[in-house]
Amino acid sequence: MLLLLAVAALVAASCASKDKTSTTSNGGTSGGTSASAATCQGKTGEKDTAKPLGSVGDPNGSGKKVGLVFDVGGRGDKSFNDSAYNGIEAAAKNMKVTIKTLEPDASGSNRAELMRGLATGGYTMIIGVGFAFADDMAKIAKDFPNTKFAIVDGVVKQPNTTGLLFAEEQGSFLVGAAAAQASKAKQVGFVGGVETALIKKFEAGYKAGVKQIDPNVKVDVKYLTPDGDFSGFKDPAKGETTAKGLYANGDDVVYHAAGLSGTGVFRAATAADRLAIGVDSNQYLQVPPAQQKCILTSMIKRVDVAVYTAVKAYLTGGLKGGTLMFDLKNGGIDFATQGGQIPDTKKLEDLKQQIIDGKITVPTT
């Protein structure tokens, strides 16, 4: 076993960083000139201001059974899974449904088994957290045509399966605008976990948001791993190295869409005294106080809202396959203001309203 551990360690060590895509060529010259770079000035210890889920008119589920299977990692990730849990927990509390939440094994090889167990156990609605459920859910939805399924971040073409999708580009647009406002160096960075179509959507929105404020601000883009190699979402060391490179290169704000690797980005930001932008949840609320002052904002993807809304739709007979889109308009996407470092929050609110009104259409590619 020790040998295996040693082997694993060696393998991990041998996975050398393989950065992709555009890099800057003016390396070094602008770095370190602190007079022209944004530094960590945020207030610490601010509280969550999000409203609790649910409203007066929510239906009564009278004990209907709703099951939820987490993405690999399960609860305690302070992000995706925890947010999904908050959603279903609120559904249990407000709408009186009976819930069961399960966590797949480390390789995710029993996702199908867990969903099947729920379906045979009388759970009439089953939620899979994450697009990795798509292939398995397509099969199981066919096996259990009378059960309703919902998948976060995915689409499954079955009449009893509903995809819960997010307009991540809209939130990324707003934090991009915040980055451009805050940047004194006129160059900002983006760290993507894995170069998937999903993360490219974050990148596209971010770039558009930066450009909206100032077309002269340069955006450096880095991905930790290519598509198909999902280690980029759970490699804080690689996230730290990459962000360190961006800051050294002169970027003074870095937005990460890299899952767990983002904790490395925050470490690098704190060490370099530069700003970072969180993703998925309000990450200001998760990091230690020493890092809070470096979190400019977060692009919030309300998985809890999506899960809660899906359960509500199920109880009212509104879960009819296809997709439900969560965006700025219905509160599924938002940006965080904790720390008070965004130079012009009013402008962001204005942009948000323009997107909601359809006056601005944010690109997804």
Partner: protein, 366 residues
């Protein structure tokens, strides 16, 4: 007799030690073991165990072939990933009559695995590079190459809103049907949603091939001879370098088959979820458990698969499923210790028998 005592002792020690772990973490060992024994032997769990055991077995055999001549092929991991990707892509690219289609996919996988494993073989034979180091490094390379090939050339167009990266699906002629219909004839009716995969037959074929190759051929004799006494084997005319390359190639060819169980069944394509990582390392543990014996590896693979399959009922009951990983580790550890104890006991017994058989040396008294 002693041979069987070792693994049984090891499992008992592992169970006892994990019971202590459970107690120390405030869990009830009796409840956990009850779920494992009762829910773990229910139909769904057994189907899941058998489906998992096939790949574990093949991986174990691939590692064992290397062990047979003191080669430590840690590269099964990379070999099967690359092989599964290329085989899945090849299978999706062609349409052939049913048996031929599957055969082509299997052959592409074996060829890819063999070629990838030959690299460390050649490095060792010609340059003396330790295969432990080179196979580990090549795992990383294979991981990168696989991701890159998939992303740049072999990726199926993604549906709107879908993010799963995978190859195009293989046609029905290139897939195994589930065994549910077949075993229904035997009076065993599985729920339609619990599919027993036919890939278990590939594992059986691999086991038979392994037995014949290693214990029934000249090559196998040379292989074992080179493993147990390299200098004696060389003196008797075995080309050591050729043996290294050949053993790695065969090990890699079997390794190529490790990842195909899902690809050749319902999933029908390569994605990071149908071809999961880590099976190469599981193979090392399974080969150790089975002492490189074709049947021993089968028992090891089934035990390992059982431990993985009971994670689902444990999760369902809200019990700590991590205990199975702890038990797997403890079992391997205790098995290695137990085998060593047995080996020493046997050696001591042999020595004492030898002493008894020989006339006692005369003691000269003054």
């Amino acid at each position: 007799m002693l041979l069987l005592a070792a693994p049984l002792l090891a499992v008992a020690v592992a169970v006892a030690a994990s019971a202590l772990v459970l107690l120390a973490t405030g869990n009830s060992p009796s409840k956990v073991f009850w779920v494992m024994a009762v829910k773990g032997t229910k139909t769904e769990a057994v189907v899941s165990m058998l489906n998992r055991a096939g790949p574990y077995y093949i991986s174990g055999v691939a590692v064992a072939i290397g062990f047979k001549m003191n080669l430590f092929n840690i590269g099964v991991e990379g070999q099967y990933r690359l092989a599964a990707l290329l085989a899945a892509a090849a299978g999706a690219a062609v349409t052939l009559p049913a048996p031929l289609h599957v055969l082509v996919i299997l052959l592409v996988a074996m060829a890819t695995g063999a070629l990838w494993a030959v690299i460390p073989g050649l490095l060792k034979a010609t340059r003396g590079v330790s295969e432990v180091i080179s196979t580990i490094m090549l795992n990383a390379v294979a991981g990168g190459v696989t991701a890159l090939l998939l992303e740049q050339y072999l990726k199926a167009p993604q549906e709107q809103g879908g993010y799963t990266v995978g190859t195009r699906p293989i046609g029905a002629s290139g897939r195994f049907p589930s065994l549910n219909a077949a075993i229904a004839h035997l009076g065993i009716h599985l729920p339609a949603a619990n599919r027993l995969q036919a890939y278990i037959f590939v594992a059986v074929a691999v086991g038979v091939a392994y037995h014949l190759l290693v214990w029934r051929t000249r090559f196998g004799f040379d292989l074992r001879a080179s493993g147990s006494n390299p200098s004696a084997a060389e003196a008797s005319g075995v080309d050591a370098k050729r043996m290294i390359v050949a053993a790695m190639a065969i090990s890699g060819a079997f390794a190529g088959l490790v990842g195909l169980s899902q690809v050749l069944s319902e999933a029908g394509r390569y994605t990071s979820d149908t071809v999961i990582g880590g099976l190469g390392f599981t193979g090392i543990a399974v080969a150790l458990l089975g002492r490189n014996h074709p049947l021993g590896i089968a028992l090891g693979a089934l035990l390992w698969a059982f431990m993985d399959a009971v994670q689902t009922p444990l999760a369902n009951e809200g019990l700590p499923k991590q205990i199975t990983a702890i038990m797997q580790g403890l079992i391997v550890l205790s098995v290695v210790v137990a085998y060593e104890v047995v080996r020493r006991t046997a050696a001591r017994r042999e020595a004492s028998e030898l002493r008894r058989a020989m006339p006692a040396p005369e003691v000269v008294r003054a």
